[in-house]
Symmetry: C2
Subunit: 450 residues, 2 copies
Amino acid sequence: MARKIRLGAFLPGGGQHIASWRHPDQPVDGAVSFEFHKHLAQTAERGLFDAYFLADNLAVGFGGAREGGNDRVAGFEPTTLFSALAPFTTNLGFIATSSTTYEEPYLTARKFASLDLISGGRAGWNVVTTTGDSAAQNFNLDTQLPHASRYKRAAEHVDVVKALWDSFEDDAFVRDVQSGVFYDKAKLHETNHRGEHFQVRGPLNVPRSPQGHPVIVQAGQSEDGRDLAAATAEVIFTAHQHIETAQEFYRDIKTRARRLGRDPNHILVMPGVSPFVGRTLAEAQEKYERLTSLILEEDGVGLLNGLTGGTLDLKGYDLDGPLPVAPPTEGMKSRQALLRQIADENNFTIRQLYQWVASARGHYTIVGTPETIVDTLQEWFENEAADGFNILPPWLPTALDDFVDLVIPELQRRGLFRTEYEGTTLRENLGLPYPVNRWSVEQPVAQAAE
Amino acid sequence: MARKIRLGAFLPGGGQHIASWRHPDQPVDGAVSFEFHKHLAQTAERGLFDAYFLADNLAVGFGGAREGGNDRVAGFEPTTLFSALAPFTTNLGFIATSSTTYEEPYLTARKFASLDLISGGRAGWNVVTTTGDSAAQNFNLDTQLPHASRYKRAAEHVDVVKALWDSFEDDAFVRDVQSGVFYDKAKLHETNHRGEHFQVRGPLNVPRSPQGHPVIVQAGQSEDGRDLAAATAEVIFTAHQHIETAQEFYRDIKTRARRLGRDPNHILVMPGVSPFVGRTLAEAQEKYERLTSLILEEDGVGLLNGLTGGTLDLKGYDLDGPLPVAPPTEGMKSRQALLRQIADENNFTIRQLYQWVASARGHYTIVGTPETIVDTLQEWFENEAADGFNILPPWLPTALDDFVDLVIPELQRRGLFRTEYEGTTLRENLGLPYPVNRWSVEQPVAQAAE
């Protein structure tokens, strides 16, 4: 079977784009509307997406936006939301974010196992260490732990969770009414983990998952992040503006995985893409301008300043003029350099720069027709830059509908994307192997499955 | 309006009764079946119950049962399950258990606020401190904390959660597309808690709940438990075998609440009742015998031994003879005395004793017709023993159906129970007041509500 593009959908209800809540298509209370999230999930499933993905934060986050201007300041907790959405879909996966720094492995293992049980094997765990002091301050700390400490803790946390997910062997539950044997006690195992950060006896009080265990997802870009991802991740979300850097990242991850003895095909690299789709290029461009025109000047300027850690104060400058050559301060040079590079490459004014940056927040923005967009996706997919993409519709629901109604058919026409789901679990649809339970490795997988 | 009986339903999917999974009516995989839980929720709503209640444990619990013989060894995590059930119901409340000892207040506040948002204001939090070393060993400890420490931590945990639930004032969200003001930043508040056990800055990243905040539920019976309940609980679950002890507890709780300046009508006492309902007394008795006959002798004897901490070894005794007079050991005297009292009062053989105990596990078992059962409920309700009851159907789903189809109509006939839901939130149906946000106390409630 030919290799197919995998697709995730990043659908936060509140907007991905800084001004999306001001777009007339988007319900102004989308971030807190269960019905709206249900509609998004069902649209993603109509488009045969692999998974619905939600990022998360353990604090009120302003995301560089003006206080009072951010519609993502409050919303649902991801695993409760996804549990509620799962019964309204049948094949779509649900990848929720959960923190290895501020949550306990027993609770992490349990909530994802429960989501997996509710959804019939469609759960994924996006493993994050959670950056920022504002989250730390909600969990008994004054400042966050150092980067390296967070990643050491993360590696151990993931190990414990995976061990807990193996507590019951696949065929542990006999449920024999006559004999009164509900489960085979020889097939229930304690974890007995005693590590540097955690001490967990187990077993977990949830059965083995319908897909073995939930799919492990990560998005770390640092050295520590890449090491953790290569060792444990099955899907990696990443952000690149150019095919060259995407290729560098893709090859690096696959190489690291191979070195650790893993099959590089079992670790899927999925860059983020923010698409503005039109039947013509002019229509696509119109949609881009429609949305970006909704950015208040104060928010746009504030965003550039926020992205550079408060070192790019552009107040008083003509927004329709060029980005000033000499940066006003000396801090955060790399972020300033990135903005300078984008401005120079595109010959952007200050306004055009913040419009571009606000749109994808670091991900790759494509403005085009189904054909030109699929040309790009195909190029990345066929040249070791991507195994699939995480689609970030810049406003909702219509930018998602545009992708489903216009881009998906073009992908299918070229044989790059499924025309029906391959299976009912997330793992089956992603083409990832069923992880054999550590306690039943002697048995063939087929027999081990219930 | 006349005072009405409040009803909770304890519906664990797996059986309340030790042998219920062997009953032919009950699906053998009920504990892990989402469809079965959905059916139970919809049946409870058909019966106009106030709430669906789930107990919980943070370890594999054998509940005194034979290893391998317990169908509640594995199941769903309660808040994910209830989130998934909520959209399939419209008025039923969902009271989930969560631990103040092993969970963090920010996460507790968030998951219940999210369940409340998903359900439109139907969430309740059953506050537990979680007993037992087996749970402690899943959370970096060798043994559990002392009782008093757990309760001190619980009181602080509840305080922090309630403060976090007030982060956004009721009318904080303006969502004005023209001006770009999504929320009024003056109506978002940090918690800034620094206590003995927790340090939490806030604010919570979930809006204020549709019912102000989720209903606070407790079940503590000890001195510490009663103090905590009197101070913070709005609903109390309790277990009594006789109206006299239920009255003592009821009056004690109401007195403690009054002393703390609370309105005693705003703290509802709900004893557990396990009903076997028949159209005739003979039919009810038959149902009792049908279920209890399914208890394996090994499990019955093991249960009595387990309940007394392993001090009542009855192996070798005639199960159809009397409970031996001299207890084989001297430990756990109070539990042994309780079993002795039940055996003597009812003139029970060993078999009859374990059958009785297995049925309700400390709650009040009633075997009767709708009329005799309602006679008892009415007596308790009208004589300061109960504001309502937590119904524990001994097997599922038919014992729940019996209650809904036979007992509810008799309660309604006597004007003791609602004929339709009073409101859409759990709080409205329980007749509990809307808690005014601490930051907007100057404003009248009517204006503060969105």
